[in-house]
Amino acid sequence: MTPADHRLRLDLQTALYLAAIEAEDFDAQEEMWALAARDGELEEALHAAHEGLLAERGAGTTEVIASAVAKHLPSAELFQSTTGPVTVGRVADELFRHTPAKLSAAAHALNDRLRQAADELPAELGLTKLTAWAEAKFGPAEAGYWKAFREAALVLELRAAAEVEYQLAARQAPKPEGRR
């Protein structure tokens, strides 16, 4: 069997496993795991199939919810997962939804532009350093805008930290009986 044959065989087994999951055919799934117990590569492929399936379902669910919210509650804010890096775009989105009263039209225009920016925030969020970093990247703006931007960035950072803590605190399966 050539390496290409070997890969195709793994792909076919993975495809059959996916079909078995979707048909809720647990006997077929068990048979595949019996094969995987003797084949480390197949085991990895099956685990990867789980990841893909969960990612696919997650993406689908998110799209459905976002679409429903946008359609029926246009003024609502959809909380996205806060795991992952906080970006300039996310901070600008936060400012768009919770805009301080005293921002100028120029600041609003800059904020609209920044909503598209995927740059991660710098580690240091002191006002002076953040302003210098942001103006070097995106151009100058009034001091009030960067102050509001920094406050929104801190809110998102705190929200992200809280979510990570929540995930860490999620309950674990207890250890089996008889174990020390």
Binding site: L12, A28, W33
Partner: protein
């Protein structure tokens, strides 16, 4: 050999127990949970409870694990379909009432195509596949590319590219079976 110090006797660790080591391994538990979430769907299913039962059952049957056969992680994963099946069967009446049992278990059957047949089917039916499955199968099966390359071609992740290839291959299998019947 036991080590004796001034105040304590340090008992040597028990012989290696791969099942216990795996059950202590957070990454193995995470994979079991992902596995459970992938195979058991529907409202009211407690995935962590299924994992807990898998762990208990594996522990009770640990004498049945033979390291000579293969990795303990796959042996553990083999418990998931059975436990998930039991849980779903218990919930079946409620799910049926809620209209959730729309997928009927279908046998996988002996119609696993030979590799040459798969390649031939890919050539014959590629144009019948919808995008992005068509590109995924073409680049993986016919151009023999790694998933990363397929993903780059499709502008997606390698994980999702693998899903697309799997679904494309299953579609090819259906098309080949339909062709055989007609």
């Amino acid at each position: 050999m036991s080590l004796v110090t001034a105040n304590t006797v340090v008992v040597p660790a028990p012989p290696d127990d791969p099942v216990r080591a795996a059950l202590d391994d957070e990454s193995v538990r995470s994979r079991l949970l992902a596995h459970t979430r992938a195979v058991a769907r529907g409202p009211g299913i407690d995935h962590e409870d299924i994992v807990q039962t898998v762990v208990q059952r594996a522990w009770a049957n640990r004498a049945g694990y033979d390291p000579a056969i293969g990795p303990v992680s796959a042996w553990l994963a083999g418990f998931v379909p059975r436990v998930a099946s039991e849980r779903l069967r218990k919930k079946a009446p409620a799910l049926a009432a809620a209209g959730q049992l729309d997928a009927v278990a279908a046998p996988m059957g002996p119609d696993v195509l030979e590799l040459a047949d798969v390649r031939a089917a890919a050539h014959r039916h590629l144009d019948s596949l919808d995008e992005p499955f068509r590109t995924a199968v073409e680049w993986r099966v016919m151009r023999d590319c790694e998933y990363e390359a397929v993903a780059a071609r499709l502008g997606t992740s390698a994980v999702y590219a693998r899903q697309l290839v799997s679904r494309g291959l299953n579609r090819l299998r259906d098309l080949a079976a339909k062709e055989d019947r007609s």
